[in-house]
Symmetry: C2
Subunit: 416 residues, 2 copies
């Protein structure tokens, strides 16, 4: 069915400052693209009737590690560097076994499909074939987005480290083999795990092939110090990526950015780098609280991210909660010049804000891709009547974050 | 069935520093009390077989507002005093209607029953009959604990304020009418809403009848300032309660305690006051992060609390997550002399720590009440095998916080 109209109660954000809503509206979809959202029942369209249901735009997860889903919610008593060494690296090594990868990635995709995420940019592992498998499973489930074979050639355990030349040749093989709607993205793990030679070469590949880039930036204080030691010539962690051609020469996502200098914020803004704000993870790994209000004030493109399994839930509703929550704590105990995020602002980051990395995604404006989720409010068990559409959404975000959505469409196709 | 043995995989904390576990153990229960936890199958007992299931002690919710459940997850863009005025007071006023109270409290009890909570200390509203109804519904569902008719005779809207003498006479009627396993507790809302005369009289009633007390303390900076103005003779908010005989003359719960002075911490410790730590609420209402490590170092009795609907989930698993999370943020951005809570420490606070307010509750030691929940780990969708019992619990806490428990027993009786 290439053309149809969806009936229901719609809520979305065109700008951060406020919700837009339409009760009993019709979302007219042509070939996977939104033609209009209207109060009049359109003629000559099949109507798919979700009357009484809340319908939200697709949410985008700008940063997560698919292989870490298997142990999501474990090992939360550590900081980043110890957590990587003791738990994450041994777990990721298992994905050298394609049979294990299939079992684990299947569980991951199943869970992701039931939630509100429609777009994602995922890390795989260093293993090319497992990462291609991940992309195939996501594509078959109906997702669009990016996934990357990870590059690591230094400061990593032998069992999860590549020879520099092999890392490059496997990246080329990965890029040449990728097909389907999950596109490849250049994915150096972070500066500590990649030699200068490897980083430089990845920057060249990204530019030559016009490929997007994703990595980690300014997550943890010890990590930031380490990068200073590894790149003594750099003025900042961001400057180090920039030096290797990995900061916005092509579309770029940098995850976390908890400890940026003002100069780094200015540089990220200038280069149109997307910050993947991952408050749940930054809390779990004791990293800190990213200055999201400063990003917004300074025009840094920003979206939300689960960062599974630094984050312990695949639900972007939970990340919305946490983005609001930590912004309140930061305002109260660290910097009262940065006001907390409102519900509409956090929702904007999760929908249209992060969605912009994938094109016209995350709103109900004409010309946007028809990504949306239909919610089941019977899950929230409230005796209250007469709530407004935006009150219904706020309540859903807090009370039903980890529950399955009622239905989900990506580029107009029903996937759940 | 007065005597039986429960078979399963047990995990509990006798002290904060570590988990105890027993795989394939037998919990022997006699008349609602734990006789032993043993690896040998006991003779002459009926066996209730939950093999392969994780079994945890009952968790205690030291502070929540039952009438606020209806709008849990709404109005999270406000701080405490505005939130009370604009949203909470109008909502609580509805409980003057016993029909509304029955509908709303029934939804509350239904949700509470499906989660891991076995004991609670709840606020009702100023309405005596609605609060008695709440106690009956909780009792019929099998819960034990406390609930209080709230006292408010100043700085409150007309529609939710009592004449001082009526507040006192209604309190007496409330105390004389209460029956069942949910016992009455003296419940001045907080100092700003209660006149000196009312507070003094409540202190006398508590002492004369040997009744426990619950209230709010040091939640929000504006509230603390306000109490200074209202009680200019006091050396602190705690001292003000103490002056009225409401700080540990009888068993006492004070919720929040986000902004205590060192002297207040010493006083709370000396008076054996229980602090109800409510990290989810303290985040949602931008209150701050309570110094839980300082409470533990200074011997302040501490438990966890959802504080619905400052808190936006009825699940103490979620509160465990948040207690750990905010302690990490506090350590990172405010005071690195107070180390973050570990998983076992937060679990201890939710089980044996807060349970001590209710007697011998929250552990699998002999002589403790047989309160426990059986968990359904199929909910956590992990491909990992061979996890330890404590790893299984940690994963459950993060991945299945808001999901129903498989079975729940309170004082030996199956309630869910």
């Amino acid at each position: 069915m290439a053309s149809y109209a969806i009936k229901g109660d719609f809520i979305w954000t065109e700008e951060p400052s406020r919700f837009r809503t339409m009760r009993n509206g019709y979302l007219v979809v042509d070939n996977g693209v939104i033609e209009s959202l209207t109060e009049e029942c359109p003629e000559n369209y099949d109507i798919i009737d979700y009357s009484g249901h809340l319908i939200i735009p697709g949410l985008s997860d700008l940063h997560l590690h698919a292989p870490q889903y298997a142990y999501m919610g474990l090992y939360m008593d550590e900081e980043l560097l110890a957590w990587l060494e003791k738990h994450t690296f041994p777990e990721e090594a298992k994905y050298g076994n394609i049979g294990y990868a299939e079992k684990a990635y299947t569980a991951f995709v199943k869970d992701l499909l039931s939630g509100p995420t429609t777009r994602l940019s995922a890390f795989g592992t260093i293993h090319t074939d497992s990462t291609l498998l991940l992309m195939r499973l996501l594509d078959e489930a109906g997702f669009y987005g990016f996934a990357g074979k990870v590059n690591m050639d230094r400061n990593s355990p032998d069992y999860l480290s590549e020879d520099t030349d092999v890392s490059i040749s496997e990246t080329i093989r990965f890029l040449d083999s990728a097909e389907g709607n999950i596109k490849p993205i250049i994915t150096p793990r972070f500066i500590p795990s990649c030699s200068d030679k490897l980083l430089r070469k990845l920057g060249i590949i990204a530019k030559e092939r016009n490929l997007p880039v994703q990595s980690h930036l300014d997550e943890n204080l010890s990590e930031v110090e380490w990068v200073k030691e590894l790149c003594p010539w750099s003025t900042s962690y961001s400057d180090a990526y920039d030096h290797f051609g990995l900061l916005g020469n092509t579309p770029t996502i940098m995850a976390h950015v908890v400890w940026p200098s003002d100069d780094e914020i200015a540089l990220l803004s200038e280069r149109d780098v997307f910050v993947a704000h991952a408050p749940s993870s930054n809390t779990n790994l004791s990293s800190g609280i990213a200055p999201v209000r400063k990003f917004m004030k300074n025009g840094v493109k920003t979206g939300l991210a689960t960062d599974v399994s630094g984050g312990s839930s695949l639900s972007l509703f939970r990340v919305i909660q946490d983005a609001i929550g930590v912004s309140k704590l930061r305002w109260r105990i660290k910097d009262d010049s940065d006001s907390p995020l409102t519900t509409s602002e956090a929702f904007f980051l999760a929908s249209k804000g992060g969605g912009a990395f994938f094109g016209k995604v995350g709103s109900f404006e004409a010309g946007f891709d028809a990504d949306f989720s239909v919610l089941d409010e019977s899950l929230i068990n409230t005796p209250l009547d007469g709530l407004s559409v935006s009150e219904r959404l706020e309540m859903y975000i807090y009370r039903a974050a980890d529950k399955p959505v009622f239905a989900k469409y990506i580029k107009g196709k029903k996937v759940h």
